[in-house]
Assembly symmetry: C2
Homo-oligomer: 254 residues x 2
């Protein structure tokens, strides 16, 4: 009997964002694997084993889950946000490619979720309303030069830019340097959104601009959106401003 | 009393993708506005009025919903996928900016949804596992030259590229031309995913490569993902291949 590995996106952290497909997949699994902070979001169920691991062992976690599924079990890998966006689905695929042939016979299912940039964008208005890109600012797995090259390409071509993994204790300077890099292409008035922990009790979404954006406002739970030259801010008395990028674009102005 | 306009993402089309937040917002609304094909997905509820409109009247639809909300009503705008990605949230913001001051006093809420690229990527493996961009190929609202400039920038910087609105009866040549443009930067072996109607009964996801990608495989309901030089395909006996982009990147090879 062939086993199954389901890689499940929990969304940003509140049950209101958990799709019925993800809910059902969590219920069906015999065993749950995941980073401990994500597993903590899933209520315990009798007869279901739990295998928590730390933040930096994606490959080993994926291999352990694949090994377990290869015994014929129905195993789930739990991921925050969407598992396909800077998360566990690519790690699982990487282990399958490098691993034993038996892992290629497994039923591998990816269950999508609301990724952070969609949740943050929803809170701010519609900053991703036109062409945009998503980048990880972590230089643990790619050289910083490549990150700067992509920031330059994206900003000068007029993409809105969503920045995942903007900062951590081990990577304190990268976000500030990214703002500096983008400032060579974009005006100081370009809207910037910091979205932290959307959908959780400590949610905080702030709107500023590139000239005033301060990297120390961000932490590991923050998603940063930097507008394009087309992105606009609508001020509203007594309400948060709306940030949006119009569906129509005339030309690149940067 | 201030009215409310909630802009709701239904996801790709199956109830399994509808978040509890979106479900509750649909229930709460007194009136639903939307493109008729999206409204058709929402079960009727007694006492809730429905205001369907055609595919190309986003601005007028947004204005009508804002007018209705300004009477103090709880109004919902229904959108496919995520309302913030090439959809109604930006259209509503545009109308608010151009419209009467009273529209700025409304409670405007965006409810995120699973956007097409996440659903298609989940079916294929993890093609969006590293830096990527999302572009609309429609030149109704921006010049084609700008689209080519962005394709060139994204491909040469090593982004995976998700193409929304790849083709329609009125825009028959754009996707083929985009493949030609990308072929100047990317090898013929670069993986390409066509994902059509994911989560619906007529779902079809096919994996090919840039050298063999044929634009006539796409229609209005298709989302196309073009890999980066890092994107890989894992062949599996008796199963669909897995397409993924590793989390680690060494350098731009294009």
């Amino acid at each position: 009997m062939s086993g199954r590995l389901t890689i499940i996106g929990l969304g940003p952290g509140d049950e209101r964002y958990l799709t019925p497909e993800a809910h059902d997949a969590l219920q069906a699994a015999e065993a749950l694997y995941g980073y401990d902070a994500y597993l903590d979001r899933v209520p315990a169920r009798e007869g279901q084993t739990r295998h928590a691991s730390g933040n930096r062992v994606e490959g080993a976690r994926a291999a352990a889950a694949l090994d377990h599924a290869a015994t014929g079990a129905d195993v789930a890998m739990v991921s925050g946000g969407d598992p396909g966006v800077f998360a566990m689905a690519a790690a699982v695929c990487g282990e399958i490619e490098a691993g034993p042939q038996s892992w290629r016979t497994l039923d591998v299912v990816v269950v999508p979720g609301i990724t952070a940039m969609l949740a943050v964008a929803a809170r701010a208005g519609a900053p991703l309303g036109h062409d945009f890109c998503a980048m990880s600012l972590s230089d643990n797995l790619k050289p910083w030069d490549l990150i700067e090259q992509r920031l330059n390409a994206a900003a000068s071509a007029g993409f809105v830019i969503a920045l995942y993994n903007p900062i951590s204790q081990a990577r304190p300077w990268q976000l500030g340097q990214a703002f500096g890099c983008l400032s060579r292409h974009l005006a100081p008035s370009t809207p910037v959104v910091f979205g932290r922990a959307v959908g959780r009790s400590d949610e905080a979404v702030t709107v500023t601009n590139l000239g005033q954006a301060n990297a120390i406002r961000a932490d590991m739970a923050t998603l940063v959106i930097v507008g394009s030259p087309e992105t606009r801010v609508i001020a509203r008395d007594g309400r948060a401003p709306l940030v949006y990028t119009p569906r129509a674009a005339a030309a690149v102005t940067a």
